[in-house]
């Protein structure tokens, strides 16, 4: 496996950052949004340009600075990072287009600020994807927390204030209070934090401080919303819907999940976790989160909160997959990272489209809307099926792998958890969609869809959700590449 | 609260006592302080600088750098009083003038500078008390001698106790005496605020300037020996002369600052009648 020293990863990170001054300084909305889209397209192109090389087994790396002795600020593109980057950068374009429809449709204030922070958030997401060591990841992780704060609290009202507070207390509190000490401990002990497939922590899982460090890291990356550190996510739903869609279905929460997977696979690794008690703890909390999250979602009245709890449950799939430490488990976890992103973003975009078109937020109010907004609800349905894991949706592939993985592992109970959760998913999604199309009262059949800018991106993501089932080629290939690295290394 | 203060004081005192346990006897000529560096000063002062008063040679040469800052400290104090107290816009609404020959006081409503140029009138304060004739006469008689003595103290610092600080203070005191026995305005007539400001800056400037001159001539700062390049003397005498120059600077600053501190403080920065 050869490493290519190239500045390209840095450009991927910087490109949206470079767009920020342009976005702020431009007074004309059209031009401003053009910059955003342009940056998004360039970013995607750059990410794609690295795909062939990474598929053929190379990786890109770039040293930016030295932060501490033996601890550089370094970017490195490996298959796993590329998957995340691909998903995030592609969905950024989609969401940006959607934002145009949404923000204009609702005549939101401070749109420049909105687009600027969105761009910064995307930069840091790319940074997380490409981070070559734990500290680099941590730096981008913190920037992501901070840059999304103005997005979450975009409305600047009392509700936003309370949610923003919660958001920061959870995210900054855990990262400073849990991740930082653990990271310093690991650095002190191993004189470096470079990610290595299989982990740089040596085998021998009985070591108490290392077990604690592992748990601190997994729970410290609170963006993954493992219970009991989950309640920021439903609160963050006060944000405008595109923010919820991209950040709380893709960038932010996936960054958390991604960090946890990195921690499990690239910091501690199989050798250490095999015998440790940290692993069962993680599995226990993740399983509990899957079940409780799905159960709580059943009782939500507000559509976005429902989706938030569904996200909480689904994110823990990824953690479960990685912590199973079996081939299919890991593959399933990483696939879930991509598939859930497409599915959930479709759902969120749907929720937003409904809000823009009708102003309705509650689950009860959706009854009959399927008749007036068939395209929106059609896409919504596709997204829901993907989350549940029914073929021919992309979500199925991930669940399949996860179930296979749980068969391989010694923890058969996980299979039960996954199946139970799928049933719960059915229980909260299907009635919702059903009632939208088949209301208990007659609705006049006049079609009144959301704005085109909202509708098209949603249909695109729905389409991709389906396409990914048939052509999972890049992702599947990358994941197998990753796995072969583990075997090779 | 008072007990807390007492406790604090007793605590500090006990640390001081503790330290004293180890002190050398008072006046012990063999204490470390008397053996390490100070003999060098005593032995080398004459040959290095040709100044018999070792205090002066240490003050202005061996540790001349400290003394430069010491002068700056004085300057700073004057500056601080200026910045803190000086009020440029007088709040006095009415003005009073006294006809010197007759002692008649004119009260003019509103501000005026009409009579300021006149030799027959002097501007006074509303609470003005005429200065005592005995005081005035005696101080008028004494002040020249005080000033002469001050100059002597400055100039003779090489050979006897004295030097810039002492001389400067005496010189300043003579002017303050004038301001006390007459009034502030009389003192200011002799040496104006502007003059004091310029003098105080000039004095320190002379000191630092001599140091910088040594620098320009290619040696270390305040290394007076190098002045022999521009003075018709050998390096040792150059040191002696350098010390003298510095002392003059010190005296000027000390004098000016003493007087200006008195002026600002006694008149609360208005520079009117004073005490």
């Amino acid at each position: 496996m050869n490493e290519i020293y190239s500045i390209r990863p840095l450009w991927v990170v910087l490109i949206s950052l470079c767009a920020v001054p342009l976005i702020i300084s431009t007074k004309r909305p059209n031009l401003r949004e053009t910059w955003t889209i342009l940056a998004g397209v360039l970013k995607l192109a750059l990410v794609l340009s690295m795909l062939p090389d990474v598929l053929s087994g190379s990786s890109f790396s770039f040293n930016i600075l030295t932060l501490f002795p033996g601890l550089p600020f370094r970017l490195r593109v490996d298959p796993m990072g590329l998957i995340f980057a691909l998903v995030a950068s592609f969905l950024w374009i989609v969401t940006s287009l959607y934002s145009i429809g949404y923000m204009r449709g609702l005549k939101e204030h401070s749109q420049s600020r909105y687009y600027a922070f969105f761009a910064i958030a995307l930069s840091s997401t790319m940074g997380i994807a490409f981070a070559a060591n734990l500290l680099t990841l941590y730096i981008f992780y913190e920037i992501l927390s901070l840059s999304t704060f103005p997005l979450v609290t975009h409305h600047q009202d009392q509700e936003a204030k309370a949610s923003g507070r919660k958001y920061l207390v959870y995210l900054l509190g855990t990262s400073i209070g849990l991740v930082l000490p653990s990271m310093i401990y690991l650095y002190m002990r191993f004189n470096g934090l470079d990610f290595r497939f299989g982990g740089f922590v040596p085998a021998g899982g009985a070591n108490l401080p290392l077990n604690i460090a592992c748990l601190l890291l997994v729970f410290g990356f609170a963006k993954v919303a493992i219970m009991p550190l989950h309640s920021w996510l439903p609160a963050a739903m006060v944000a405008p819907t595109p923010v919820s869609a991209l950040l709380h279905a893709v960038a932010v929460v996936k960054a958390g999940a991604f960090s946890v997977v990195r921690t499990i696979l690239f910091v501690f690794g199989e050798g250490f976790l095999e015998g440790s008690w940290a692993r069962p703890t993680i599995l226990f909390f993740a399983s509990a989160t899957v079940l409780i999250g799905s159960l709580v979602a059943l009782y939500q009245r507000e559509l976005k909160r429902l989706l938030a709890f569904s996200t909480i449950a689904q994110l823990s799939y990824i953690v479960l997959g990685a912590a199973m430490l079996t081939e299919h488990g890991v593959k399933g976890g990483i696939l879930q990272l991509a598939m859930h992103a497409f599915g959930k973003i479709t759902l969120f975009l749907g929720a937003g489209a409904i809000f823009v078109a009708t102003g309705k937020k509650l689950v009860d109010q959706l009854e009959g809307l399927g008749r007036t907004m068939p395209f929106t609800f059609g896409a919504f349905f596709v997204g829901a099926l993907s989350i549940i894991g029914i073929p021919p949706m992309g979500g199925f592939l991930a669940k399949w792998e996860l179930l296979l993985g749980s068969c391989q592992s010694q923890y058969m109970g996980i299979m039960g958890v996954l199946l139970a959760s799928s049933l719960l998913n059915v229980a909260y999604f299907i009635p919702l969609v059903y009632r939208a199309f088949f209301p208990s009262f007659p609705v006049e059949g006049k079609i009144r869809e959301a704005p085109l800018f909202c509708l098209l991106p949603m249909l695109a993501t729905a389409l991709f959700t389906i396409l990914l089932f048939f052509f999972p080629y890049p992702f599947a290939q990358l994941i197998s590449g990753l796995w072969s690295q583990l075997l090779g290394g | 609260m008072r007990y807390l203060y007492l406790l604090l004081v007793v605590l500090s005192a006990s640390v001081l006592f503790y330290a004293t346990l180890d002190f050398p006897q008072w006046g012990d000529p063999n204490s470390p302080a008397s053996l390490h560096v100070s003999p060098v000063y005593l032995q080398r002062s004459l040959e290095d600088t040709s100044v018999p008063n070792v205090v002066t040679s240490v003050l202005a040469d061996y540790r001349g750098y400290d003394t430069m800052f010491e002068t700056t400290v004085i300057f700073t104090a004057g500056l601080a009083c200026f910045v803190l107290l000086r009020v440029f816009a007088p709040k006095m609404k009415d003005t009073y003038y006294r006809h010197i020959q007759s002692g008649v006081v004119l009260h003019i409503k509103g501000q005026t500078t009409l009579l300021d140029g006149s030799r027959d009138f002097e501007r006074i304060d509303s609470r003005w008390v005429p200065a005592d004739i005995i005081l005035k006469t005696i101080s008028r008689f004494l002040i020249p001698f005080i000033q002469l003595f001050a100059l002597y103290v400055v100039a003779h610092g090489h050979h006897s106790p004295g030097g810039g600080f002492q001389g400067g203070v005496i010189l300043g005191a003579s002017i303050i005496l004038l301001s006390i026995s007459f009034d502030l305005r009389t003192g200011l007539e002799k040496i104006h605020e502007r003059g004091l400001g310029l003098f105080s800056a000039t004095g320190v400037f002379i000191y630092t300037g001599i140091g910088a001159l040594c620098l320009i001539l290619g040696k270390e700062f305040l290394n007076y020996g190098v002045l022999s390049k521009i003075l018709p003397v050998d390096p040792v005498m150059a040191r002696s002369l350098g010390i003298f120059g510095v002392e003059v600077g010190v005296a000027i600053t000390v004098m000016a600052v003493m007087v200006s501190i008195y002026n600002y403080v006694s008149s609360e920065g208005r520079l009117d009648e004073g005490l």
Partner: protein, 126 residues
Amino acid sequence: MDSILEFIVGRYNYWLYILLMMIGLYAMISKNNLTKKIVGMNIFQTAIILFYISIGFKKGGTIPILEHTSHAVEVSHFVNPLPHVLMLTAIVVSVSTFGVALALAIMIYREHGTLEEDEILKCLEQ
């Protein structure tokens, strides 16, 4: 007993400076009137000057002014000049601090019409 007495008598200058210093310190921290505090500050500084000057003293020593003629200087005949030099600086510093403190006190008086600390604090709280 004798040794203790000797210890006490032989270092009486130190006891004096400690006493003086504590008087100054006490005045500074406990007095209510700002002028008294300023005076205390001055006493405090003076005590240190006394301490330094007494370090430099040698029994049987005279002021450190040499004769031009003498070549070999008998060091023990002259008191240590260095503390004197240092204390000249310290005196100047204390005078300057005194000046600045007085200027500040005048500013305070101008503003509050009093120099009693408790009255000023009361005034500030309003």
